[in-house]
């Protein structure tokens, strides 16, 4: 790897590993961060990018390996330690206090005080305004963060990181909720920081963005670093090859069965946002038995919200849904599950599992009524159903009485799927079913989806992974900004048209060629 003289290595990770209970997130990673350059980090969901960055920012401690800051061996016990050494981070999940003002957030833990140790609110707001001015955000420093839209909150998070005056600035998907214009401004700020010698670590899923602003690129796959290059030597194809590996992903092949009658239809689904506007904007779609309909879209496109509406999780949602041609009048989740809908939520820990209950109790939680005589849960049939589901989905568990939290991510996901399947659904809604699980479990999940569709289930699945949606779907719907912006048959769908449709209304301009000339 060629070294450019003015891009000295400021931070170096040597053989860093991070193990969580159940999974190895990062395996013996060697990673260099260079001064005055944008160091891009790329990889699929769950490849370990965020973990690696949290190690650098002191949020997580490595299980093994060394961190060298300007040649000196360091260890950060907390993010405060890292901040003191000049490392700042823009988190992917926004780490802001909604109940505090913008200025208070920017100076949280570093409050500006006067002689009497009283917080100097005026001074804080004046300086906050300066940082916000640089981002041309048009955000007043004295309003509450919870009153801002997500994109503006992301800008506050960025302003906060910039205000640290850090030597190393990590940005974990900083553009995921920004508009095209806001992204342009951010890139100007990054160029400015770069000129002042700040080392920037930049994580994004958007390859066109990376190629435009990156100087060095590092690719992660399943916790391993698979490639490290100067950006000028690589192209998209190289990146994709390093990300996916020579062995293409194991998407179970379509078996060519023909979808049957329409089994589900949603008409004119709308959901208002608390902050105004529509999170789901007049979405209508239909699904046939045995069909897999992929819904592609960026973060915040309204995919999860659409699923929530369909499941009856929001009282204020409007629109009608039909199952097998019959209108579903029930508005609550319980009765919609009984009508044959089931949701596999995006956030396994918060919405999918009751982590302190056993694998068995989790599996049968949604379908207990099947095993009940009068009011008594019959142990025999319940155990039988659990054992059968464990076998069918190949859940690796020694004893179903084990707490579900002791399983690995992939097996936990299978438990969530098993729970949904035990309700005997006609329509399965899967929200990012492959998020945060390892390759083997992914393949199992995809195979299960294929098998279910062959058995005549209608499957709606939401994803932000292009390969996934292209490989698994019979048809592909694209959502952007709450609207359905495209509906394609698999035959006519190309990555280009999907990306274009997913950027309508927000996100960076779809035409990378044009912006590159700016």
């Amino acid at each position: 790897m060629s070294t450019v003289a003015n891009h000295d290595v400021i931070l170096k990770l040597e053989d860093v590993s991070k193990v969580y209970s159940g999974t190895v997130a990062v395996k013996r990673a060697n990673f260099e961060v260079r001064k005055g350059a944008v160091n891009v980090l790329v990889g699929e969901n769950g490849a370990g990018k965020s973990t690696l960055m949290k190690i650098i920012a002191g949020v997580e401690q490595p299980t093994a390996g060394r961190i060298l800051l300007e040649g000196e061996d360091v260890s950060f016990a907390s993010s405060g330690d890292a901040v003191n050494r000049g490392i700042g981070m823009v988190f992917q999940e926004l780490n802001l206090f909604g109940n505090l003002t913008v200025a208070e957030n920017i100076f949280a833990t570093r409050e500006i005080t006067n002689r009497f140790r009283k917080i100097d609110r005026k001074e804080q707001e004046r300086r906050a305004a300066q940082f916000l001015e640089r981002l041309q955000a048009g955000i007043r420093p004295d309003i509450l963060v919870e009153d801002l839209r997500i994109g503006q909150q992301q800008l506050v998070e960025i302003a906060k990181a910039v205000s640290l005056d850090a030597r190393i600035l990590i940005m974990d998907e900083p553009t995921s909720a920004l508009s095209a214009a806001e992204v342009e401004i951010l890139f100007k700020v990054i160029a400015d920081l770069k000129a002042r010698g700040v080392a920037i670590v930049y994580i994004s899923h958007r390859l066109e963005e990376l190629i435009r602003i990156g100087d060095y690129i590092t690719v992660l796959r399943d916790g391993h670093i698979t490639g490290q290059e100067e950006m000028k030597n690589v192209d998209t194809r190289w990146i994709v090859r390093q990300m996916i590996g020579s062995d293409a992903k194991d998407f179970a092949k379509a078996d060519g069965h023909v979808p049957g009658e329409e089994i589900f239809r949603a008409e004119d689904i709308c959901l208002s946002r608390a902050t105004g506007g529509l999170a789901v904007d007049h979405v209508s779609l239909s699904l046939r038995a045995g069909e897999i309909l992929g819904i592609y879209g960026l973060m915040g496109a309204g995919r999860s919200e659409l699923f929530d509406c369909i499941m009856g999780r929001h009282g204020r949602a409007t629109g009608t849904i039909f199952i097998a041609g019959k209108r579903v009048k029930e508005r609550d989740t319980t009765r919609r599950i009984r009508r044959g809908l089931a949701l596999i939520p995006e956030d396994r820990q918060r919405e999918g599992l009751v982590s302190i209950l056993s694998v068995a109790s989790n599996l049968t939680l949604a379908s207990l009524s099947r095993f009940v005589r009068l009011f008594h849960i019959r142990g025999g049939p319940e155990r039988q159903a659990v054992v059968q589901m464990v076998r069918e989905l190949a859940i690796k568990v020694a004893d179903p009485a084990q707490e579900v939290s002791s399983l690995s991510g992939g097996n936990q996901q299978k438990v969530v799927i098993g729970k949904a399947l035990l309700t005997g659904p006609k329509v399965l809604l899967m929200d990012e079913p492959s998020r945060g699980i390892d390759v083997g479990a992914k393949a199992d999940v995809f195979r299960t989806m294929r098998k279910l569709s062959r058995d005549g289930l209608g499957i709606l699945f939401a994803t932000s992974d292009l390969d996934e949606v292209m490989a698994l779907s019979d048809r592909i719907a694209v959502m952007s900004n709450g609207k359905l912006t495209g509906m394609f048959d698999r035959a006519e769908a190309t990555e280009a048209v999907l990306v274009a449709a997913s950027a309508l209304g927000h996100g960076p301009a779809p035409h990378t060629e044009n912006t590159a000339h700016d």
Partner: protein
């Protein structure tokens, strides 16, 4: 492939597992310890009369603690039980003495069974008020039940202007006699209150273990959002636990009034704290999702025996409070240690399994 690692993990984790088993049985061990201690330290402690007397004391707290256990498992708290005890006692006393005046020259007197049922209904109703405040109006359980604590206590005092309803023997011509049976009656040598406790405890334990409602109570406490998405009617579950807690409190109100043959409006003050202590001592987690009826009953016995035994030993009531507090704190500390050990053992087994 799945059972080999499990076998391999057994010997290495054996020492941890033994400690874990001891820790899991800690409340039971504590119970045996206090029994042995007081049988040596306090004369007459093990006499039948004393044991029966003690179990009557324990029973009162055990009822409240059972209701509290379900509430805490769902992640809530019920501070109003002590006041419900007081109010329900007053309702029963009022009905025995005065009946209901219909304002048209007639007064309805109920027989004792009817009075008991009405009192239980009042307890359940107040529980329902708690439940509605929490589920429909989104009031935090602590605040909702705190408010009801004051309201119910105030109503109890208003019902008699702060006076005691004395001498609840009733009149045979009105059919209101026999109220003392609950508190003083015996079946097969055991007090009626103990029989009721056995029945309610078995029913509650069965409910927790073998019914969908029981499973849902644990699920709601473990993860409310996930329960909702799985189709659990979270609001109904919460309504039930507060109504059950009110029901248990009403039983206690009836038993106390019946024992004393009088209703005093201040009855039950600070009972809620004893109930919480028994539940926590029995292994119920204040963060929800964990707890058992059996554990809670044992916890109630530990607390009850501890205070009665100390009284028999002549320990000052001030020291009793200190000791009770320390026991509760130790119980929770051991509980935390057990959690940590448990997760370590699990991780060890997983590491062995690869």
């Amino acid at each position: 492939m799945t059972d080999i690692p499990a076998k391999a993990a057994v010997p290495s984790a054996a020492s941890g597992s033994l400690l874990l088993t001891l820790m899991k049985a800690r409340t039971f061990i504590a119970l045996i310890a206090v029994l042995i201690f007081f049988s040596i330290a306090a004369p007459n402690f093990l006499s039948t009369a004393n044991l029966i007397l003690m179990s009557k004391h324990v029973a009162l707290n055990a009822f409240l603690a059972m209701g509290m256990t379900f509430v805490i498992i769902t992640g809530g708290i019920d501070l109003s039980v002590g006041s419900i005890v007081g109010l329900c006692g007053m309702v029963a006393g009022y009905l025995v003495l005065n009946g209901i005046d219909l304002q048209i020259g007639y007064t309805i007197y109920f027989n004792v069974v009817e009075i008991a049922l009405i009192t239980l209904a009042v307890g359940i109703l107040i529980g329902a008020v708690n439940g509605l405040l929490i589920t429909r109006l989104n009031v935090a359980p602590f605040i909702a039940t705190l408010g009801v604590l004051y309201v119910a206590r105030g109503l109890a005092l208003l019902s008699s202007d702060g006076r005691t309803f004395p001498n609840l023997v009733g009149k045979s011509e009105l059919g209101t006699t026999g109220f003392g049976f609950l508190g003083a009656g015996r079946l097969l040598g055991l007090p009626v209150a103990i029989w009721i406790l056995i029945v309610v405890a078995l029913a509650a334990a069965y409910l927790a273990k073998y019914t969908p409602l029981g499973r849902h109570i644990f699920a709601v406490g473990g993860n409310e959002r996930a329960s909702r998405i799985s189709g659990v009617r979270v609001n109904m579950v919460k309504m039930f636990v507060y109504m059950f807690s009110g029901f248990c409190a009403a039983i206690v109100g009836l038993i106390i009034s019946s024992e004393l043959m009088a209703s005093h409006p201040a009855t039950g003050e600070s009972f809620e704290l004893n109930a919480i202590a028994a539940a926590v001592l029995g292994g119920t987690s204040m963060s929800g999702g964990r707890g058992t009826i059996g554990g809670t009953i044992v916890g109630a016995f530990v607390i009850g025996i501890l205070s009665d035994g100390l009284v028999m030993m002549g320990v000052s009531s001030f020291w009793q409070m200190v000791i009770k507090g320390l026991v509760i704190i130790v119980a929770v500390v051991v509980d935390q240690a057990q959690r940590r050990l448990q997760s370590r053992v699990t991780l060890m087994q997983m590491a062995k399994a690869g």
